[in-house]
């Protein structure tokens, strides 16, 4: 089973994607999508990082909800920062020490930081223990770093465990 | 009302495209132009979708999807080229 379907979730996702692209749910589309979902994971198996198992789905849903809410609210905040006078902004580089170890989880964490307005993840150190983040406006560096870790890294650690 | 909202949105998107174009012309570095180009891709997708609502047809979604993909690949390839002097190593 493991050999035929190396990534069952990916296969299902590819099938859904194919149906979305086709914009139809006929039998032909489903068969073609199933073929895509069967062949692509086998062909690309070598390139896939080691994706950790999701431990708690309710926490994942909660994480996504918090993330979407933050994107919305903080975007309005950033819009005001951009429209306001630039002298009021205090851009800083922040250094976020990482507790996550898995490549995939770090990517999710960095992408979350980049999409939550006010911060762009800019660089990761070679040993994957330090994330350099550019922040558009912050009063207190340490407080912002603590908030990022508390709000995004802790739930990710609970969801994926590494 | 929807027609007017759509036209207002189209005008706003055109304005932002012009701003991106200014940044692309002004520079000052090549990477600034890459950022402007990346923003232009996204704004072009928005314009296509607004145009679709204007025309009441769903014919252009494939175009929007293609622009989204090409924009991403183009931006990453350019950044990688400026970073390493090579795109595929």
């Amino acid at each position: 089973m493991k050999k035929i379907f190396p990534h069952p979730v990916l296969s299902a996702w590819l099938l859904v994607l194919w149906l979305f692209i086709q914009n139809s749910f006929g039998l032909g589309s489903i068969i073609m999508g199933a073929c895509v979902g069967f062949v692509l994971p086998i062909v690309t198996e070598k390139f896939w990082p080691n994706i950790p198992k999701i431990r708690s789905i309710p926490k994942l849903v909660r994480y996504i909800a918090v993330f979407l809410w933050d994107v919305l609210v903080a975007n309005i905040q950033v819009a005001f920062w951009i429209l306001g006078p630039q002298e009021n902004l205090r851009p800083r580089f922040l250094y976020v020490p990482l507790e996550l170890t898995n490549k995939f989880t770090i990517t999710v964490f960095a992408s979350t930081i980049s999409l939550t307005p006010g911060t762009v993840s800019s660089h990761i150190s070679g040993d994957r223990k330090l994330l350099i983040v550019h922040c558009l406006n912050t009063d207190d560096d340490d407080a912002t770093v603590r908030e990022i870790k508390e709000r995004y890294e802790k739930p990710l650690l609970e969801i994926f465990g590494c | 009302m929807l027609e007017w909202a759509n036209i207002i949105a189209i005008v706003m998107m055109t304005l932002s495209l012009l701003m991106n174009m200014w940044r692309m012309a002004a520079g000052p570095r090549t990477l600034d132009r890459v950022v402007a180009l990346d923003t232009m891709y996204i704004n072009a997708i928005a314009l296509i979708i607004l145009f679709e609502i204007y025309l009441d047809s769903v014919l252009y979604f494939e175009a929007a999807l293609l622009i989204a993909m090409m924009g991403f690949v183009g931006t990453v390839a350019l950044s990688k080229y400026f970073l390493r002097g090579d795109i595929i190593e």
Partner: protein, 138 residues
């Protein structure tokens, strides 16, 4: 088409376009490269998200328009996955090229905990002249 739906669609259209406009304004106005990166990656992405939501509502709940359209979902997902990646690539390149920035901190790459590994930064195999310069030649 129901009137309330028309109001909702119009609201999302104008709000999305306004966010995109603010993002582009940030691209024009702000001073250094890193600050400019904030506008396009986030305000513009959310703006396009709003427009796509309006389009999804319009095409799926409007009896006058034939057909169902779920491509918006696809474009939105794709955009929300790719926008941070391209922003990260550009910020990383700018850091490597030592672009100047507002704020007067020390160079972030010189932070004591920033470890350079071989596979990340080894350019020794390359001829120095082959590495393109991100800077414009005057």
């Amino acid at each position: 088409m129901a009137f309330w739906l028309e109001i909702v669609v119009s609201f999302f259209l104008v709000a999305g376009a306004a966010f995109a406009l603010i993002g582009s304004w940030g691209l024009v106005k702000l001073d250094d490269f890193y600050m400019r990166l904030h506008g396009p990656t986030k305000a513009t992405t959310l703006g396009l998200g709003g427009i796509l939501l309006a389009s999804a509502l319009y095409f799926n709940f409007n009896p006058d328009v034939a057909g169902v359209s779920i491509h918006e979902v696809l474009i939105t997902i794709f955009l929300f996955i790719t926008a941070p990646v391209s922003a990260h690539m550009m910020a990383k390149t700018a850091l490597q090229k030592h672009f100047d920035y507002v704020g007067g901190q020390q160079d972030p790459l010189n932070h004591p905990r920033n470890v350079h590994t071989i596979q990340e930064h080894d350019l020794s195999g390359m001829d120095e002249s082959q590495i393109p310069d991100g800077d414009e030649e005057e």
